[in-house]
């Protein structure tokens, strides 16, 4: 069952996303914002590698003789 708040958000009654971010420690912030060429390139390589594999396999079936 989808858990969806039905009424407009009561600002006084519940926590706001900004409260959570505001309460992060400096270390948490630094860790969360850590950008990495390595992580991105590894993921990109695997995604494009899978495209190449499926593409080659599909191409072999479709265009091969």
């Amino acid at each position: 069952m989808v858990n969806v708040p039905q009424a407009r958000h009561d600002q006084s009654a519940s926590i706001d996303h900004r409260d959570i971010i505001r309460n992060l420690s400096d270390d948490q912030r630094r860790d969360l914002r850590q950008l990495s060429n390595r992580a991105g390139l590894v993921r990109l390589s695997s995604h494009t590698g899978m495209i190449a594999l499926t593409g080659t396999s599909y191409g072999g079936c479709h265009f091969g003789h």
Partner: protein, 244 residues
């Protein structure tokens, strides 16, 4: 293999989305280059999409002032609309028309700031030139490769991307709190992999500078406060259509 190829290709959208935030890579030039290549592949110029998407983040689910451009395309509220939405036809129509309109110097959307308008138009023109070259080469070579290895798989993959995207804000309330107006969908590792961890969508909207590989960490911090969640995309869609 056409369907897996199409799904893999169209879900590059989620990487384009990350590139717009300049978070998947540390180097800005890699973010920009990858964004342009993917934008070309999926017919979505990143310069325009960046303006669109930043407006969406600034005004998420802001219906009162009609500021969230994502709300311009109405969410499906009947079986007919749901089918049309999932087909991807409105998306392709809108994106192709947009590229042509921008390339021809047509009117800019309100969310494109003045300083970005020139670049948005130029990029659309470059894309049109690129597509024209590919079409010309295909005709010259008498080849249908781009049709069968690129365009048709994209068309087959688009419904899966639409189904994924509907869960991000579909049926979420029109309020400013990201804990309410955005949904995190708990799903398999395969879907999180395909979508570059974007099913952690409330986390992403709460702190958009967090790169994809740190979203699970942010999720662990925020999980006790998440209010708008769903256990999987099948459950989301089952519930969504049950209210038609």
């Amino acid at each position: 293999m056409m369907l897996p190829l199409g799904i893999l290709l169209i879900f590059l959208f989620t990487l384009l989305h990350e590139c717009i935030h300049e978070t998947p890579f540390r180097s800005r030039w890699i973010n920009r280059t990858v964004g342009i290549v993917i934008g070309f592949l999926i017919f979505l110029p990143p310069a325009w999409f960046c303006c669109f998407h930043m407006a969406h983040h600034r005004h998420t689910q802001d219906q009162d002032r009609d500021n969230d451009p994502e709300l311009d395309a109405k969410k499906p509220e009947s079986w007919m609309q749901y089918g049309i939405y999932l087909s991807g036809i409105p998306t392709w129509y809108s994106q192709l028309l947009k590229i042509v309109r921008l390339a021809m110097g047509g009117p800019m959307d309100g969310f494109v700031p003045g300083r970005a308008q020139k670049g948005v138009g130029q990029q659309a023109r470059l894309f049109v030139v690129g597509y024209a070259i590919l079409i010309a080469l295909s005709i010259f070579q008498n080849s249908t490769v781009i049709i069968w290895a690129w365009l048709v798989p994209l068309i087959f993959g688009q419904p899966f991307l639409r189904a994924y995207l509907l869960a991000e804000h579909g049926r979420c309330p029109y309020v400013s709190n990201m804990l309410d107006n955005t949904r995190t969908t708990f799903t398999s590792g395969i879907v999180r992999y395909l979508a570059w961890n974007m099913p952690y969508h409330t986390e992403h909207h709460s702190y958009p500078v967090v790169p994809f590989h740190k979203l699970p960490v942010l999720h662990n911090i925020m999980k006790k406060n998440l209010r708008n969640t769903e256990d999987g995309f099948v459950r989301f869609h089952t519930d969504y259509v049950s209210r038609f």
